[in-house]
Amino acid sequence: METALFDDITVLEIAPGVAGPYATMQLGDFGARVIKIEPLQGDWTRAMGPPFADSESSLFLGLNRNKQSVALDVTVPEGLEILQQLIPRVDVLVLDLLPAERQARHLTYADLSALNPKLIYCAITPFGNQGPMANQPGSELVLQAVSGYTRYVGEPGGEPVRVGADIAGINTAIFVYQAIVAALIARQHSGVGQEVQVSQLGSLLTTKTIMLGAQNNPDEWDGFHLLSTTDGPEHGWQTQDRPITFDFGTSPDGWQAFCRRVGLEHLIDDPRFEDWYRTMCLGAEAQQLRHEYERGFADKPSDELIEMIRELGGNAFPYLDYEMVLASEQVESLNILEDVPQPNGEILRMIGFPWQFSDIQPQVRSAAPRLGADTAAVLQELGWTAERCQGLRQQSIVGMP
């Protein structure tokens, strides 16, 4: 396509944090105009550091490229009025407010669709629109805890451990993007918009659907999925330098040859290794018998072991940290890193686009905006004079640099 895919789409984001901004950023990557409405003190993620780059947190900078920022207090009537003037001009509204807040601030779908029937109104909640926790706020860790993801890391019964990635934020964001584009597709045919809701708890349970089924049948209770909540921490097999993980499928030849090569031939007839294929990769047997392999691995570098395992028909990978993986040839070949020039001239490298398309190309067009950088321009589009903008600023209804 000659022009950007969403170049005729305007998105309004009232969704601080990770989930909303990540989704709207991806719409912006495909050319949508994204107007980020922030409270006068800014999206809270701006302050989530150090690290900071150019006085904004790297977290914020990595989630808000390709956007405009309007600082606007939508909790006061004058601010709400400005928002209501914007609604007929936009295609998509992404709102991350608790259901009670949407009601109290006159920002329900009924309120806003009356102003624009083509509006796609995407409401993000922590726990869902109904139920006893519907109006409780969430957070990354709170959602990981409530959805049970913390059961798969750390010592069972011990101090909790979280998944290091922001899965509650980003997995939700991916569903938010799907919801919006699916609603845009429906609008291509129907001509009307609609409300669509995505919750963080629902999102995290969706990516866990295998686990929901796995625990259903006590008569056939076996396999790593079921043991994952009772096993200890899983950190691979220590070698001379760094841990690895490995397997040999179900064909015994490679495994036996490997045992001989690393001086572990006694394992071949060891009755504990009868189900030898279960003693590798993940699972309780692997954890219990780890030390037996590690005896043969202690004096060998990971590279050598991995090469040997692959040569013998097995699979193996080292535990890599960011320094190693992000500089690797494989990541280079994925073309997934983008260098984004910041307003002060610094370059911030970040994740770009996890897809390849044959006919369209997402693009970074601008760095994340300063708070309120576009307030004046957007108000002027609505017909507000510079003088009236200044008035609003003095009343602390809008903010601009």
């Binding site: 003190q41 790297s58 929901l212 089924g213």
Partner: protein, 404 residues
């Protein structure tokens, strides 16, 4: 099927999880999904546990699909598949590289027959690069993408999630984004296109926030157990009874937390007034908060923090979660009836007001072979015999218990 993709047809020849879940989500959005598997079965059939003989993962991935068995290496059955693909909107594959060409199912061949076709490829490590041909299951992507390196308590060498599937299913979700984007584009251009993602690319994207922080400061993210380096407090606290998760995002929430803990003096202390200051003085602050939390039970804290709208929650496991009113009221988990008894699956991740979606129980392998083959104009008598379901699917699962 109802939903925003009503009327869209999908032909899915993927196996395992990362591909099949793309098809399931498209089916949940209202598309008709024809899942083609070979007479030898999808390779996921052998993954434990089973549900009365059928692999759980196969069933979980089979929601909102129509199972068809075709041997694509047989010319007559390949011809059936081509007819289905010619009439479809979206084709999904996650073969090893080179296989689509060998089977006559490459993007070049299929798009030449159907220029509106959206052809989606899911690979492990990407379609090029030194790892392109290496095995690519979820646990390997966890360790090789850095995902495991940012999880674990301090002193840990990094830690994998012991339940796997999260990276597979995240990859599927990211592939669905691409398919929907291409579908939107097709309405404008009239043309389909080839879209691709990989487990590696998808799971780097899942780490986008940590990776932005890493590139900004040039230092590896520290492993802090339940805490995170750039946000304080955002961690677990031990109470008189059990651990709770607590977070403060805004200045207002910080003041409310201090009030709840009867530590108002901290709210005004400049060493703790902003998140950046709290990050610097974490070691001084956390013990003060932790001491207070220990004095009362978890429920007491959840109730009072909830009153002030400070984010907090319990660390829950499946038994607590399954019938929790928050889950049941929102239908976050739904039990569907199957031939193998009731089976719990996740609820719909999106709730559309005007184009609501509906969940269908998982397909059995080949359950729809006759119906779908007849649709291509072939007499049912000419449907190849290889298509009837072989009991070996069940036997495979029962006899071998592979680690993955």
């Amino acid at each position: 099927m109802p939903g925003p993709l009503e009327g869209i047809k999908v032909v899915d020849v993927t196996s395992a999880a990362a591909g099949p879940f793309v098809a399931s989500l498209l089916g949940q959005l209202g598309a008709e999904v024809i899942k083609i598997e070979p007479p030898t079965g999808d390779r996921i059939h052998v993954v434990l546990p089973t549900q009365h003989g059928r692999g759980t993962t196969y069933m979980s991935m089979g929601v909102n699909k129509k199972g068809v068995i075709l041997n694509l290496k047989h010319p007559d059955e390949y011809a059936v598949a081509l007819d289905l693909i010619d009439a479809c909107d979206i084709f999904l594959e996650n073969y090893r590289r080179g296989v689509p060409e060998r089977l006559g199912l490459s993007y070049g061949e299929l798009s030449a027959r159907n220029s509106r076709l959206i052809y989606c490829t899911v690979t492990g490590w990407g379609d090029r690069g030194p790892w392109a041909k290496l095995a690519n299951i979820d646990p390997y992507v966890q360790v090789a993408s850095g995902f495991a390196s940012i999880t674990g308590s301090s002193g840990s060498p990094g830690e994998s999630m012991r339940y796997y599937g999260h990276l597979d299913l995240t990859t599927a979700c990211i592939a669905v984004q691409a398919v929907l984007t291409a579908l939107y584009a097709r309405h404008k251009t009239g043309k389909g296109q080839h879209v691709q993602t990989s487990l590696m690319a998808a799971n780097l994207a899942l780490q986008a926030t940590r990776i932005a922080e890493y590139f900004s400061q040039g230092a590896l993210p520290p492993r802090l157990g339940h805490a995170v380096s750039n946000h304080v407090p955002h961690q677990a606290f031990a109470t008189q009874t059990r651990w709770i998760a607590v977070a403060v995002h805004t200045d207002e929430e910080w003041r409310y937390l201090c009030r709840t803990l009867e530590l108002d003096e901290l709210a005004d202390n400049s060493r703790f007034a902003t998140n950046a200051a709290r990050v610097v003085h974490r070691q001084d602050l956390i013990p003060l908060l932790q001491e207070r939390f220990r004095a009362k039970p978890a429920l007491w804290w959840l109730t009072i923090l909830g009153r002030y709208r400070v984010p907090c929650g319990l660390f829950m496991g499946y038994p607590e979660l399954r019938h929790h009113q928050q889950v049941t009221d929102n239908e976050h988990i739904v039990t569907v009836e199957t031939e193998r008894g009731p089976f719990p699956i996740s609820g719909l991740p999106w709730r559309f007001g005007h184009t609501p979606c509906a969940l269908q129980p998982p397909t059995e392998p080949g359950q729809y072979t006759q119906e779908i083959v007849r649709r291509t104009g072939r007499d049912s008598a000419t449907i190849p015999g290889a298509m009837d379901e072989s009991p070996k699917f069940v036997d495979v699962a029962a006899q071998t218990s592979r680690p993955f």
